[in-house]
């Protein structure tokens, strides 16, 4: 091992992005933020960063090319405007779409009008009852205008001064007249508009949405869930008495009906980008399901990429313990649902995806024997090691000093001779990403650490630069829980595993990335010491962060 002190330095240099830091960033969004009871946070890799403002322009995880203007897909600046009553999954769609577009490299930011309202209306005060009424009082109209103006200014600022390409304006927008004037207003600034309506007449979908995201707020503590749903829906309809579904043939819109059962695309002037969005929406659903990530077990003998060998005895033992641990954890989750008062809670069925590499397939064998469906996905095979396969770090440094230097500058995009870069891997995983969105069942993914890094990077909106350094120690299963505002990750500790197989992966590339043993997994993913690997404690960030999340799920969203 050469130069291990160097690695220490590299890691320490990066360490700040792993810990949760809060800071007020400059610019207009910050004003809102400063006025609101929440903070802006810098990315911690354990927290979904979809609402973060990237500090500097850099290539996105799966960006295929770059242009001078920074805009992609031959499109200009676009505002995507959501349309739909509360509890129709608008926020979920906005966030998912932003995640995908940013993954592709389109500079995208979401503007939840609700955040602006909360920043404007003093904390603790409620909004006026007639806030959404067509014939609202003068003071309510003024308030409405003030909130919308602020949001719109921020959108212009993002598109004009921050090289933004797509702003997602997340609001109810219930009236055709309002939507037309929005389109006109943006057109004046040479910005195209695309409306995405989430329309729903399936009571079950609406109720599930309300149950999931709306009634978890403090207002409904102690309520029976059926009553809470009724109360919530009644409140919506008294507050927003008028809603017109989109029929405006002169506007660009995508109408998503009953969570993707049907899509109507009215395309008057748009090209590729809207098709791409439709493709994504075709695979998106608004049902909540969990994703688990687990490593493959250790293998016998030669740790060669080409050999593709079977699991060792220890690897088999790991497969068994991982399976037991996961199934036990799911029982706990079911119990938790029951405790929350849900009648007859049923977990979604669990499916397993592995790569076609032997070790990952064999790691799934106990699940397969327990009747779970296992599917092999060839796209999920690990990062190709190229010529550095089986070389020690020392030898790589001796033989390819230039490559090592380049790698250190940009570990995400650099590829060793004939190897794949993380970027290559991300592009190759694109179909998997779409199928991941499509999957309705809970999903366990067993794959090489490099693949887990990239998939995790997508789900948690990690910076490309951080992805190669994400850590997945073998004694933990990572669980991603989707919430409409952001995803949450938690770790499930697999007990009783021998130390020797936990931190290091013998089959790993010996390329100069900080070896797994060097930084503790706790630091690696930025979770505070106290919360280490206790599944029950869940979201491992300082409690201050939980406040904004609950706030964003208040009852009524904004119109206009």
């Amino acid at each position: 091992m050469v130069d291990s002190t160097h690695w220490q330095t590299v890691f320490l240099g990066d360490a700040s992005c792993y810990s949760c830091t809060f800071e007020l960033t400059s610019g207009s969004t910050a004003e809102i933020v400063a006025n609101s009871p929440q903070f802006r946070r810098k990315s911690s890799t354990f927290v979904d960063a979809i609402h973060d403002l990237p500090e500097k322009a850099e290539l996105a995880p799966a960006q295929l090319y770059s242009t001078e203007s920074g805009r992609l897909f031959h499109s200009g600046r676009i505002v995507i405007i959501t349309v739909g009553l509360p509890a129709r999954g608008k926020t979920h769609i906005s966030v998912a779409l932003a995640r995908y577009l940013r993954w592709l490299g389109v500079k995208t930011r979401i503007f939840h009008l609700g955040d602006y309202r909360r920043a404007t209306i003093p904390f603790g005060e409620d909004m006026p009852d007639d806030y959404f009424f067509v014939n609202a009082t003068a003071s309510s109209v003024l308030l409405r205008q003030k909130i919308v103006r602020k949001c719109r200014e921020d959108i212009y600022h993002f598109l004009n001064n921050e090289k933004g390409q797509i702003a997602i304006y997340d609001a109810v927008n219930p009236l055709a007249s309002g939507r037309r004037s929005l389109a006109k207003e943006f057109a004046k600034h040479d910005i195209e508009t695309l409306f995405i309506e989430s329309w729903c007449d399936d009571e079950r979908i609406i109720e599930e949405n309300v149950r999931r995201v709306k009634i978890s707020s403090p207002d409904y503590v102690g309520w029976n869930s059926e009553d809470a749903i009724k109360h919530y829906l009644a409140r919506i309809s008294s507050r927003i008495p008028q809603f017109q579904t989109m029929e405006e043939k002169d506007l660009n819109y995508i109408k998503m009906m009953n969570a993707g059962e049907r899509l109507i695309v009215n395309n008057c002037s748009f090209g590729y980008l809207s098709n791409r969005i439709v493709f994504y929406l075709l695979n998106l659903h608004i049902k909540s399901r969990r994703t688990y990530f687990a490593r493959a077990g250790v293998s016998v003998g030669a740790d060669s990429y080409k050999a593709d060998v079977s699991l060792s005895e220890q690897g088999e033992d790991y497969a068994k313990k991982m399976t037991e641990c996961l199934l036990a954890h799911r029982e706990l989750e079911k119990q938790a649902l029951l405790d929350r008062g849900e009648p007859e809670p049923e977990l979604r069925p669990l499916k397993v995806w592995t790569s076609t590499r032997r070790r990952t397939v064999e790691t799934a064998q106990y699940l397969y024997e327990n009747g779970y469906k296992v599917r092999q996905r060839s796209q999920m095979s690990q990062l190709k090691p190229g010529v550095c396969e089986k070389m020690s770090e020392k030898r790589i440094r001796q033989e390819y000093p230039d490559e090592v230097a380049k790698h250190e500058l940009d570990p995400y995009h650099h590829r060793y001779p004939r190897a794949e870069s993380y970027h290559d891997l991300a592009v190759r995983l694109e179909p998997i990403i779409l199928e991941l969105e499509r999957e309705q069942n809970d999903l366990l993914i067993i794959a090489h650490e490099s693949v887990l890094r990239v998939l995790y990077g997508y789900l948690m909106a990690c910076n490309a630069a951080d992805i190669p350094f994400l850590e997945f120690p073998r004694d933990e299963i990572i669980e991603i829980i989707p919430e409409s505002y952001q995803n949450e990750a938690q770790r499930i500790h697999i007990p009783d595993l021998p130390e020797s197989i936990v931190p290091d992966s013998p089959e790993d590339l010996k390329i100069p990335v900080p070896p797994s043993g060097m930084m503790s997994p706790i630091q690696g993913l930025g979770s505070p010491q106290s919360g280490l690997a206790t599944p029950a404690s869940g979201f491992r960030t300082p409690s201050g962060l939980r406040t904004p999340r609950e706030l964003t799920q208040q009852h009524v969203e904004d119109v206009v």
């Binding site: 295929l64 090319y65 770059s66 242009t67 031959h74 993707g260 059962e261 049907r262 899509l263 109507i264 695309v265 009215n266 395309n267 008057c268 090209g271 590729y272 098709n275 791409r276 439709v278 493709f279 075709l282 695979n283 060669s304 080409k306 076609t356 092999q376 996905r377 060839s378 796209q379 190709k384 190229g386 010529v387 396969e389 089986k390 033989e399 001779p417 004939r418 190897a419 970027h423 592009v427 190759r428 694109e430 179909p431 779409l434 199928e435 499509r438």
Partner: protein
């Protein structure tokens, strides 16, 4: 350096693409004549075949034609019982062949190309497929733009086998009568069929309704179909100018272009002009991220002012451990590899590098972009160019890696309704040849003689009609 381990089995890569879903899909075209159904069907088949998903078009018209080669319009009158019966027989024959094709295990996507204009017919197809455990995806094309319809009739239908050797004017007239007969009985897909998976394209995609998509492959197909357009345009393909590596016969690398390569780069703007760029159209230049293509397109960009994109996906096939070697050296150092590559060049993956199949997979986003773009001038590398060319010209996998694509030549492809027209423009600047024939010595071969006749205008005809 390179480790001398065994060649990886190529077999395992064959599942790479088709693994996206286990389901079999029957794409059922729906729509009146002259709505571009056959165009969509043909392109979708070509696209699927190119990405490695076995697909086939079953054209009911060609079954019907077997018994009734040149029917009059009255044949298509829904009140003409004999005509109705004959068309039913043709549909049944097509269906039965399609089911046989699926049963043989070879098929993944079948495209049933016919008007399928009644609810009854669609219900019958749906039921037949359901029984055979095949998913159906209905693709309806609706168009009420009379000009568009007439253009389609004149361009395509009068060359249809149904009207072979007949007066074009009379043919067009007869065809319009035939359409009117279909219109009498035409039923669009509506809410009574909301349990079907379907896509409805109204006026070439200005409105699209997508219903009950259940799997990833269908969503991908819908995405592909949505990106198709029928605006006239061309695509130009060129390799980079001769590189320093070309001179020494080495493959791969990231070398600069040679002095002759530079001359080609300078000649490219006028060569493009000579080939004819349609006026008032949008053009864009694409290169790879390697120096030799960027250098080759430098003057083109400067003189035309077209927008330029650099694509990682357009980089040359990665030859792994053989990168930087000559074919002779490869044959010497890796004799088994060299032989294996000749055996199955499409699937052969260089040690630690890529196969042609791998290149096709990474080019898929490029094809999507190409479909939706207008004029595109692509400056790229031999293997990549072969793959893109094969997509447009429908070259089979076993042939595409062997195609000859000389340096310093601009290829212009112009998509037509049924196939692609090809023209080649040679810059009169000598260059080495990098082409190597199958089973030949590893030495570089002589540059083919100047002015040697090339196959030009390689457009192909396909029977439309029903």
């Amino acid at each position: 350096m390179p480790t001398g381990s065994v060649i990886r089995s190529q077999q395992q890569h064959k599942v790479f693409v088709a693994s996206s879903d286990d389901s079999k899909i029957c794409v059922v075209m729906v729509g009146l004549p002259a709505r571009g159904k056959s165009l969509i069907a043909g392109k979708a088949m070509r696209y699927l075949g190119w990405v490695g998903i076995p697909a086939r078009v079953f054209n009911v018209g060609s079954y019907r034609r077997h018994n009734t080669p040149q029917p009059a319009a009255t044949f298509f009158d829904p009140h003409n019982e004999e005509g109705e019966r004959m068309r039913r027989v043709a549909a049944e024959a097509a269906m039965s062949d399609m089911l046989k094709w699926f049963q043989s295990g070879k098929g993944v996507v079948a495209i049933l190309d016919a008007t399928n204009s009644t609810k009854e017919r669609r219900a019958w197809i749906y039921e037949k497929c359901r029984q055979a455990d095949i998913e159906t995806l209905f693709v309806e094309s609706i168009c009420d733009d009379e000009d568009l319809i007439m253009t389609n009739i004149l361009e395509v239908k009068t060359t249809s086998p149904d009207y072979k050797g007949q007066d074009p004017e009379a043919s067009a007239q007869d065809f319009r009568t035939r359409i009117r007969n279909y219109e009498k009985a035409y039923e669009t897909i509506d809410d009574h069929e909301k349990h079907f998976t379907y896509v409805k394209l109204i006026n070439v995609g200005s409105t699209v309704i997508i219903n009950q998509i259940k799997d990833y492959l269908s969503s991908r197909l819908v995405y592909y179909i949505q990106n198709l357009h029928i605006k006239p345009r061309s695509i130009w393909l060129s390799r980079h100018g001769e590189s320093e590596f070309n001179l020494t016969g080495r493959i791969g690398g990231d070398s600069n272009i040679s002095e002759r390569g530079e001359r080609y780069a300078r000649a490219l703007p006028s060569l493009l002009q000579k080939s004819g760029v349609p006026p008032n159209t949008k053009s864009v230049i694409w290169t790879s991220t390697l120096k030799r293509t960027i250098q080759s397109a430098r003057h083109l960009k400067a003189e035309t002012g077209y927008e330029k994109l650099e694509w990682k996906a357009l980089d040359e096939l990665d030859s792994g451990v053989c990168d930087g070697l000559t074919y002779e050296q490869i044959a010497e150092k890796y004799p088994e590899d060299f032989a294996a590559r000749d055996e199955d060049k499409y699937n052969y993956r260089y040690r630690g590098g890529e196969s042609y199949r791998d290149v096709v997979i990474r080019l898929e986003p490029i094809i999507m972009e190409l479909e939706r773009s207008e004029n595109v001038i692509i400056v790229t590398h031999q293997a990549v160019l072969r793959c893109i060319y094969s997509y447009f010209m429908n070259v089979p996998q076993e042939k595409s890696p062997w195609m000859e694509v000389p340096l310093h030549t601009l290829i212009k492809l112009t998509p037509r309704a049924y196939g692609t027209e090809e023209q080649r423009f040679k810059a009169d600047i000598p260059a080495v040849s990098t082409w190597r024939g199958k089973g030949t010595s590893a030495k570089h071969q002589e540059f083919p003689k100047e002015g040697e006749p090339k196959e030009e205008g390689g457009s192909k005809e396909e029977g439309g009609g029903r």
